[in-house]
């Protein structure tokens, strides 16, 4: 079957298979929404899909997750949503040489490297804080964002091309949402407690496909829904389109990095090595960390200082000191966090990875001498972050995979199901 006949209907509908073949879509969240979006994009022939989700598949996910293989999911081995989505998407992809990557991680852990060369970012995670994080990331990196959510028989889809600093952002419409990751399992328990109505496949299918349509539009450089949120009730048929206006008090980012300069330093190298490399760009670099680094925090029971030494997204709860509860030590120093690093900083001998910086991550640097700001991209590639599945276009072989160094299918301690 020639490509012309394969995509004849799509061409007639305004899709360019070559444009889709060259597209890279990063899907954050591989539940019902991510499944349905990826199913459409795979059938449309999107060239590269990246799946990001730390959660595992549960039996109740199957009726609204068309890419999950029932046999695999019902086996004894725990399956991760990201890898199951990837395998499912690869199996049905009509791209000539599909590339499907997955990472069993939280997006905050992967960092901005996950979006390297991405055409569109899709916010399909079950938590508002993740969407706020993705909105800021998309804006800074200049990558369009598609976001969706649903409950019961209603849902919404929004699209953000982020053209220019004057444009409204997702956070203009949701200014009360702050950053901070929440796992899907935790969210699921939370919504159960709230008595919310769960999604079903008809609902997820409607909104997943609506989102996929706008991903495809953005890939083609068309902005039909840019800066708008469409709300729809699948039972009553009532809809509402909201044109989002800029909130002057928006907590979100309303600027882009612009040019991102490469630096020959990777996340396993010391902060001091990054500072040396930055010397080629400016005299007095001040590196802004993407996430606050928590040096220490008060014990939740007695207030004594507890050493943490992790980025904030890796701190899931307030710590307890070793002496508690037997020996209360009142009067600790409180929360000690770092958001910027100077060349002679006490953290200079830490590895960048310890500060939460990932491969190919992007960091913002201020030059205190000139007052200018610029962004740098660390060394690294997508292969450092994702496990990649490819399908050999010539013989139809499937499932050849390339894993990032040190990667496993199992979640890390911080990402176990039920966190």
């Amino acid at each position: 079957m020639s490509e012309d006949s394969l995509f004849s209907r799509e061409r007639a509908a305004g899709y360019d298979p070559t444009v889709l073949e060259n597209a890279v879509v990063a899907l954050v969240g591989c539940g019902a929404a991510g499944n349905n979006i990826a199913q459409s994009l795979s059938l449309l022939g999107a060239g590269e899909l990246r799946f990001i989700d730390p959660d595992v598949v549960e039996k109740s996910n199957l009726p609204r997750s068309p890419l999950f293989n029932v046999g695999r999911a019902e086996g004894k081995r725990r399956r991760h949503k990201a890898s199951e989505c990837a395998h499912g998407a690869l199996a049905i992809s009509h791209a000539r040489a599909p590339v499907v990557c997955f990472a069993v991680s939280r997006i905050e852990e992967l960092g901005y490297g996950a979006f390297m060369d991405a055409s569109v970012i899709v916010a399909a995670a079950d938590a508002f804080p993740v969407r706020a994080w993705l909105s800021d990331a998309a804006r800074l990196l200049g990558i369009p964002l598609v976001e969706l959510g649903f409950s019961g028989h209603r849902g919404h889809v929004s699209a953000w091309a982020y053209r220019g600093e004057e444009a409204a952002c997702w956070r203009c419409a949701h200014p009360r949402v702050e950053h901070g990751g929440v796992g899907c399992s935790l969210y699921a328990r939370g919504v159960s407690a709230l008595g919310m109505v769960p999604a079903t496949q008809p609902l997820a299918g409607v909104f997943g496909n609506l989102a996929a349509a706008h991903v495809a539009e953005l890939i083609h450089g068309r902005h039909a829904l840019d800066g708008k949120i469409v709300h729809f009730d699948i039972l009553s048929g009532q809809s509402r389109v909201v044109e989002v206006t800029v909130d002057p008090s928006c907590p979100g980012v309303h600027r882009g990095y612009g040019e991102v300069r490469p630096v020959p330093v990777g996340p396993d190298q010391m902060v001091s090595e990054l500072m040396n490399a930055l010397g080629g760009f400016c005299k007095e670099p001040l590196v802004h960390l993407r996430a606050v680094y928590v040096k220490s925090a008060p014990c939740r029971l007695c207030g004594a200082t507890v050493e943490i030494g992790r980025p904030e997204w890796a701190v899931s709860s307030a710590p307890e000191c070793r002496a508690c509860p037997e020996v209360p030590q009142f009067g600790g120093a409180g929360l000690d966090v770092v958001s910027t690093i100077e060349p002679d900083d006490e953290l200079s001998e830490l590895r960048l990875a310890e500060l939460g910086v990932g491969a190919a991550d992007v960091l913002e640097v201020a030059d205190r001498a000139s007052g200018s700001r610029f962004a740098v991209r660390l060394k690294g590639s997508i292969d450092d972050l994702f496990t990649t599945l490819t399908k050999d276009a010539r013989n139809g072989a499937r499932g050849s995979s390339k894993k990032p160094v040190g990667a496993t299918d199992a979640p890390t301690k911080e990402h176990k199901s039920g966190e």
Binding site: G29, C30, G31, A32, A33, G34, D55, N61, K81, A124, A125, D126, A127, F128, R131, L148, G149, F150, S151, R154, G155, H156, A168, C172, A173, H174, P175, R176, V177, V182, C184, Y187, A188, G190, V191, L194, M196, P198, A199, I229, H231, D233, R240, V241, V242, E243, V244, T245, V246, D247, P248, S249, C250
Partner: protein, 90 residues
């Protein structure tokens, strides 16, 4: 500026209910939403749902940090409350 009151009709995000309220010139969108929660017209926002406001007449959102009147709301204005769900998997 005198605290002029205007009458605003709020539309429920999920059904045909309406809530008519007197709104002061300094009343922000956030304060209006809080008032609608207190009045029992909508449930409180939480980790799975959040609200926004839309001027029915223009189709544009009203930034909730700013006053309704400052955003152009007039006597008899109809404002839709929209609900955004975080659900994507559950």
């Amino acid at each position: 500026m005198a605290n002029k009151q205007i009458k605003v009709t709020f539309l429920h995000p999920r059904d045909s209910r309406e809530f008519i309220a007197e709104v002061g010139s300094a009343t922000t969108g956030a304060a209006a939403l809080d008032g609608l929660v207190k009045a029992g017209f909508i449930e409180a926002a939480n980790g799975s749902r959040t609200y926004a406001l839309q001027m029915q007449r223009t189709g544009k959102s009203i930034p909730i940090s700013a006053s309704l009147v400052g955003n152009g709301a007039q006597e008899g204005e109809v404002v839709a409350v929209t609900e955004t769900s975080a659900g994507a998997s559950w």
